[in-house]
């Protein structure tokens, strides 16, 4: 497949950045003795550079979401280590924020209050906080919906809020768990563009879980292709398509075809 990758020019921006996230020999089992254990993730290992956009691509049930939960610190691995800036990950924290697949906004807070939620504990002046909130409302295009409740806005807008409320915390790594799977095709495309736009402005590392090959090829610097039963990394593919990428482009389409054949 490398012949498809060599035809396009190299995007030098992220390649020279240092590695910040290290995952080594991570293994995770679920279940207990009665039903029998199931090995969900077997010997996962990779490193992510600062500012890299990595897509974790695989079918449902291959442990992608489990990996994300491990990285977020919601669950602990049975074996292996996860380190961010050489510090072991042991519990959830604002340096590794998650945009969930389902809407996980606080229904009793308005759009603005949801975005402000994580700032509460931080030691910055309230004027500065307001300014930041305004900036992120604007970045995700929701300035006019600040006073709405989550139940009053659409699915796409909810995911915009979910994005803004974590980006405002300036996470080292942004973890996204099939965040646009439940949206309609047009909204999904808008959101993909938004993610790319924000990524280029804010330059955070993104790990983006998806089962959609086109989405992965559109977004990623690098694709970790997952195998099932047990979940493991089958291929680590570096994409060197120039940005912005066109879905109708020949290189784009042939790359999608090659990757689809691998899944």
């Amino acid at each position: 497949m490398s012949r498809y990758l060599q035809v396009v020019q190299k995007n030098p921006s992220t390649v020279e950045q240092p590695y910040i996230l290290d995952v080594e020999h991570v293994q995770k089992k679920f279940g207990n003795g009665d039903i029998g254990e199931k090995l969900v993730l077997a010997d996962i290992g990779f490193s992510a550079r600062r500012g890299e956009l990595i897509c974790i691509l695989g079918r449902s049930g291959c442990g992608k979401t489990t990996l994300l939960n491990l990285l977020a610190g919601f669950i602990a691995p049975d074996q292996g280590t996860i380190r961010l800036h050489d510090q072991p990950v042991s519990k959830p924290g604002p340096d590794r924020c998650v945009v969930f697949q389902d809407d996980a906004l606080f229904p009793w807070l308005t759009v603005r209050e949801n975005i402000a939620f994580g700032l509460k504990g931080q030691r910055i002046s309230s004027a500065q906080k307001e300014e930041e909130i305004d900036r992120f409302l604007k970045l995700v295009g929701l300035s006019e919906f600040a006073a709405y409740l989550p139940s009053e806005i659409s699915g796409g807008m909810k995911q915009r809020v979910a994005l803004a409320r974590v980006l405002i915390l300036k996470p080292q790594v942004l973890l996204m768990d099939e965040p646009f799977a439940a949206l309609d095709a047009q909204t999904r495309e808008e959101m993909q563009n938004l993610v790319l736009e924000l990524w280029q402005q804010l330059a955070h590392t993104i790990l983006f879980v998806t089962h959609d090959v086109t989405e992965a090829v559109l977004l990623a610097d690098r694709i970790l292709l997952f195998d099932k039963d047990p979940g493991r990394i089958k291929e680590d593919i570096r994409l060197e398509l120039s940005r912005p990428r066109e879905k109708e482009d020949q290189n784009f389409l042939s790359l999608c075809r090659v990757i689809r054949a691998q899944i």
């Binding site: 977020a72 919601f74 924290g93 590794r96 998650v98 996980a104 229904p107 504990g121 409740l149 009053e152």
Partner: protein
């Protein structure tokens, strides 16, 4: 600002339809006289008794002007009993909703106790606390505890793990998480529990006051039965219904004023 829950005039009138119909039926029955007045006095007589009970000069007639003192006595008992139930039931419910160990330890006992009719506690309470404030407060607190505990427990247990994870990743730790995420997420259930608890408080207030305390709305009803003043009994029942309804509205208003999670959930 977005538009929230529009309501029409029809919906404001709707709750009063049934009481109005009931009143008409009562008027009609008294008018044709199928039930003798010593069993069911006419609305007019009841209104007269109510006016005298609420606004009359104390001492000018039996029961005249006693309302204010009775209301204060009963209100104090309900408030003390209900507050006690909230103070115990709410934290205990939150804890056992989140800590499976506590839930397993407390669940069976509390459900067993709940099955005991409140009136069974009355003799015991009389022995323990004597006649008066303490017995009534004990009965009210006991009765209000169960709906508050059970609903809070259910609310805390059913909070979406996704919300807790979201809170944790945005850096809220245990204590702040309890107030910033858990409590507001469980608020709809907590509100239900508190309102049910307050409703049942008024029922058990009357039970506690039937035992021979000198003042209070329940005491007046019991006293009036001895003296054959059916009109005063009816006045007492209507007043308790009204005050119960008003206190529910008041509680609802208070919660909605104090907590935005209560304001925005119903």
């Amino acid at each position: 600002m977005p538009v929230r829950s529009p309501f029409s005039e029809g919906q404001i009138l709707l709750p009063w339809l049934l009481p109005a119909g009931f009143l008409l039926a009562w008027l009609f029955i008294s008018f044709i006289g199928v039930i003798p007045a010593y069993l069911l006095p006419s609305p007019g007589e009841v209104l007269k008794a109510a006016t005298s009970y609420i606004f009359g000069e104390p001492g000018s007639a039996p029961y005249a002007g006693r309302f204010y003192a009775d209301f204060c006595a009963s209100g104090l008992r309900v408030l003390s009993g209900f507050s006690l139930a909230v103070l115990i039931g709410l934290p205990l419910g939150m804890l056992s909703g989140r800590v499976p160990f506590l839930q397993r330890m407390l669940g069976t006992s509390i459900n067993g106790l709940r099955a005991v009719p409140g009136i069974c506690w009355l003799p015991l309470a009389l022995v323990w606390f004597g006649i008066g404030l303490k017995t009534t407060v004990f009965l009210v607190a006991l009765a209000a505890f169960f709906p508050i505990y059970l609903n809070t427990e259910a609310g805390a247990r059913q909070v979406s793990p996704l919300l807790l994870q979201a809170g944790a990743m945005m850096g809220v730790r245990r204590l702040r998480g309890t107030f910033a995420v858990l409590l507001p997420a469980a608020m709809p259930h907590i509100m239900t529990g508190l309102r049910l608890g307050l409703g049942i408080s008024w029922a058990y207030l009357v039970l506690g006051e039937l035992t021979g305390v000198p003042n209070g709305l329940g005491a007046v009803i019991m006293d009036a039965r001895m003296l054959g003043r059916i009109d005063i009994i009816v006045v007492g029942i209507i007043l308790i219904a009204l005050i119960g309804r008003l206190s529910d509205t008041g509680l609802h208003w208070l919660l909605r004023t104090c907590f935005r999670s209560a304001r925005r959930s119903a």
